[in-house]
């Protein structure tokens, strides 16, 4: 397929996934606010701090009130990572590959954007934020389902899925990072059943509470971290996402056994390192540092995907694609 089209697909669905996860992160805070009235003042700033966007926020708003943070992360069209901006970018990318995706996908993408866009004008969303963010999640899920059900699972679909998976791995790690930072600054509290309410909120923000309960029962920070980082079956866990992304990548390149593209090498290594990690080890050497490293390597994977597939290469097509790296 066209390099440009592959790039647009990849990014369109990364942006959708990003929008969905911003909604999840905000929803978690809303939940906490309801459960712990009176203790909300400093729960909102971390939402933008974790993405490294503090400067952007401070430029625009005086105080980190819930309304300000929600407005910034949801509707601020001057901020490129707000839900609205993400969906606009997603839709523009989808629009330029309109002929590659199914009409059902396009219609849902369009409705999704128009729904958030009109909410940004009416102010309805912030009067009943929980409902609104739930609708954002549902719209994203609907799009994901339509994609799986109406688009051939061909190369184009693999780029769509890979975009979602790479972004989701990144976002889940962020949610874990920010919450861990607030919830558990002291390492000696690990393994004590403190703050059940807050950890429940973290799991719920990843739609993982029920699945976690089935698997581990008690809410323990150690196992929650294990579940969100290293589970192979929960679809929002980082390792699951990396395994899926890796699968997409191999299907795109066609599983050539001897030759690997750089993106394949980096992603294979990352997922293999992760799958051999033990939670205890991660916690001892610092979860925050671990997640930092993970995100850095994910960025490297993103850059390699770009140069392997999107940067216009003027080499003639080979049966197995253009290859310039091998797995050492």
């Amino acid at each position: 397929m066209l390099s440009r089209a592959a790039e647009c697909l990849f990014w369109a669905f990364r942006y959708v996934e990003r929008a969905e996860n911003i909604a999840r992160a905000i929803d978690v805070n809303l939940n906490l606010t309801l459960d712990q009235p009176g203790n909300t003042a400093d729960q909102w700033a971390p939402l933008y701090q974790v993405t490294g966007e503090e400067i952007e926020f401070v430029k625009r708003y005086e105080k980190a009130t819930p309304a300000n943070v929600m407005r910034f992360l949801t509707f601020d069209s001057t901020y490129s990572n707000s839900i609205l901006s993400c969906l606009l970018a997603a839709r523009e990318n989808a629009r330029s590959v309109r002929e590659v995706i199914s009409s059902e996908m396009w219609e849902q993408m369009n409705k999704f954007y128009l729904f958030v866009q009109s909410a940004s004008e009416t102010g309805r969303a912030l009067r009943n934020p929980s409902d609104f963010y739930r609708e954002v999640r549902t719209a994203s899920h609907l799009l994901e389902g339509l994609t799986a059900a109406t688009m051939s699972h061909s190369e184009a679909w693999q780029f769509v899925r890979m975009g979602r998976m790479v972004e989701r791995a990144d976002q889940t790690s962020r949610i874990l990072d920010v919450k861990y930072f607030i919830l558990l600054p002291q390492l000696n509290l690990v393994n004590s059943p403190v703050d059940d309410v807050q950890w429940m909120a973290v799991l719920k923000s990843c739609s993982g509470f029920e699945m976690y309960r089935k698997q581990y029962g008690r809410l323990l920070p150690m196992t929650i971290v294990e579940f969100l980082l290293l589970d192979r079956e929960f679809p929002r866990a980082v390792l699951y996402c990396l395994n899926s992304a890796c699968d997409c990548l191999h299907r795109i390149t066609g599983f050539a056994p001897d030759e690997y593209l750089e993106s394949e090498v980096l992603l294979e290594k990352l997922r293999s390192d992760l799958s051999h990690s033990a939670t205890k080890q991660i916690m001892n050497s610092g979860l925050h540092e671990f997640i930092d490293g993970l995100q850095g390597r994910l960025n490297g994977v993103g850059a390699a995907i770009h140069s392997d597939f999107f940067a216009p290469s003027d080499l003639p097509a080979k049966p197995n694609g253009t290859r310039h790296a091998s797995l050492s």
């Binding site: 066209l2 089209a5 330029s96 309109r98 002929e99 219609e107 369009n110 999107f310 080499l315 003639p316």
Partner: protein, 482 residues
């Protein structure tokens, strides 16, 4: 009756012969509409608009920052064309397209029509859209114009005329197809009662025609639609047609020329393209052959085309027949090449390069429509009766300064069709743009075409860039409901 209070006014009305007397072809439709209240109809109008918005069927208006994306306004009352009238129009369109292709092949080769004095040589020499790099080219099967959109209008007596030909990149056919889908959702019961000729085989016919142009290749030909990009006003149509045909939609930057072939840049390296349905103007196609500053074209494309290793539809150079001065000679061309009379006449046209016609135009500016020879989209136009004296004087100066660039036509009282205005109905002026595919062996005329409607009360300008909308066009099948 629903349209009891509708006033056809002093214009030719497509629904009514006179107030209260429907045309025969519209009787069944009007009977079916009977069952609906004006409120219900207005509800359905809103529902249709909501569908358009959700589908993102929009166009971009240049130089309009706020809300640059708009839905093409759509009116749910269809325009009806009887089977008898369509038979005549279809024959007229075939005749015209056949002639124009003969003309284009002649004008880029021997120019017999000039030597025989049918068209003055200076008219062609001064045509901006005559492309010298195209002289001597031999497009596959000698066909230059593969996709033609011919604008038809009625005068006050009901006679159809050709207002202009669009031989470069005629747009709008996607609206024809989408309008029909929306109408099926809006009025399913009416479709069951009427024998309406379908339009949805257009993309299939278009693809077959494009594939027939391909140079000999090993495998099945690779067809691509070439778009200037998603900022273009007709981008929706470009992606729609690519999707409907199942072919790639490419931009200039996706293409490159390598070893004498046009290639696409893919995730697996370069892959060849055999047929390009281009939706960008000649000027921008290839910076080596035409405008050097074009960033949306493909350097070296014309070289490959000249070598016969890629087909381009429409061929570069077709725009010369769009020149409104050249247009005026089409009836003579028909006589010259086919020895036939034009089945659909032109609108009478005054050519300002001709001294006496120019004088006539300047004296009668308040009655005429004046058009620049190379403009489209309703730009560069003066509607004399609707303009004030200052505007007319300014236009007169332009004509005097460059008479070759202007033509004038009588102001036609275009026919009208009712549109839904809240819960009542008013007549609005319309034109009709049928689409003709020409692949060499056969010509396909899409039954109907795009009915464009000037939604502003009293306006004669139907262009979407100037507040026009569209309607579905129903060509009735012969033998069935008349």
């Amino acid at each position: 009756m629903l349209l009891d209070h509708y006033d056809p006014g002093e214009f030719y009305d497509e629904y009514f012969e006179t107030a209260g007397t429907p045309r025969q072809s519209c009787q069944l439709l009007l009977q079916s509409l009977e069952a609906m209240s004006p409120f219900e109809l207005s509800q359905r109008q809103s529902a249709a608009e909501a569908i358009l918005l959700n589908l993102g069927i929009t166009f971009n208006v240049y130089g309009d920052e706020r809300g640059k994306e708009k839905i093409m306004p759509f009116d749910i009352l269809p325009r009806i064309v009887s089977a008898e009238e369509w038979t005549v129009l279809e024959a007229g369109l075939r005749q015209r397209v056949t002639t124009l292709n003969l003309f284009l092949d002649d004008i880029y080769h021997d120019q017999k029509i000039l030597k025989d004095g049918i068209i003055p040589e200076h008219v062609i020499r001064s045509a901006k859209s005559f492309r010298t790099p195209c002289v001597g080219l031999n497009p596959p099967r000698g066909i230059w114009c593969h996709i033609n959109g011919v604008d038809l209008v009625r005068d006050g007596t009901g006679q159809m005329h050709v207002l202009e030909d669009n031989l470069r990149c005629p747009s709008g056919v996607s609206y024809v197809l989408e309008n029909r889908e929306i109408m099926k959702r809006t009025f399913p019961q009416i479709f069951r009662g009427l024998n309406i000729r379908p339009v949805n085989d257009y993309p299939g016919k278009l693809l077959a025609m494009l594939e027939s142009l391909a140079p000999a290749t090993d495998g099945p030909p690779h067809v691509a639609v070439l778009t200037p990009g998603s900022a273009n006003s007709a981008y929706f149509e470009h992606s729609f047609l690519a999707m409907q045909m199942g072919v790639q939609l490419v931009e200039g930057r996706d293409l490159t020329v390598r070893e004498g072939r046009v290639m696409t840049r893919t995730t697996k390296g370069l892959e060849p393209v055999d047929v390009i349905y281009r939706r960008i103007d000649d000027d921008f196609l290839d910076p080596h052959a035409f405008r050097e500053d074009s960033l949306i074209g493909v350097p070296g494309l014309m070289e490959v085309y000249r070598a016969g290793r890629v087909a381009i539809a429409n061929a570069p150079g077709t725009g010369v027949a769009d020149d409104k001065v050249v247009y005026a000679y089409v009836p003579q061309m028909i006589k010259y090449y086919l020895d036939e009379e034009a089945i659909i006449p032109n609108v009478p046209t005054y050519l300002c390069w001709n001294e006496s016609e120019k004088d006539h135009v300047l004296k009668n500016l308040d009655k005429l429509v004046v058009k620049a020879a190379n403009e489209a989209g309703g730009y560069g136009m003066l509607i004399g009766p609707h303009a004030d004296q200052v505007t007319r004087d300014a236009f007169a100066e332009k004509i005097v300064a460059n008479p070759r660039n202007f033509i004038a036509q009588p102001t036609l009282g275009l026919s009208r069709v009712p549109v839904v205005t809240g819960e009542s109905f008013e007549g609005r002026h319309v034109d009709l743009r049928p689409y003709v595919l020409c692949g060499g062996d056969s010509i396909f005329v899409l039954p109907g075409g795009l009915t464009r409607v000037a939604l502003k009360k009293g306006s004669l300008v139907v262009n979407s860039s100037q507040g026009g909308g569209s309607k579905d066009t129903w060509v009735l099948g012969g033998g069935g409901a008349a």
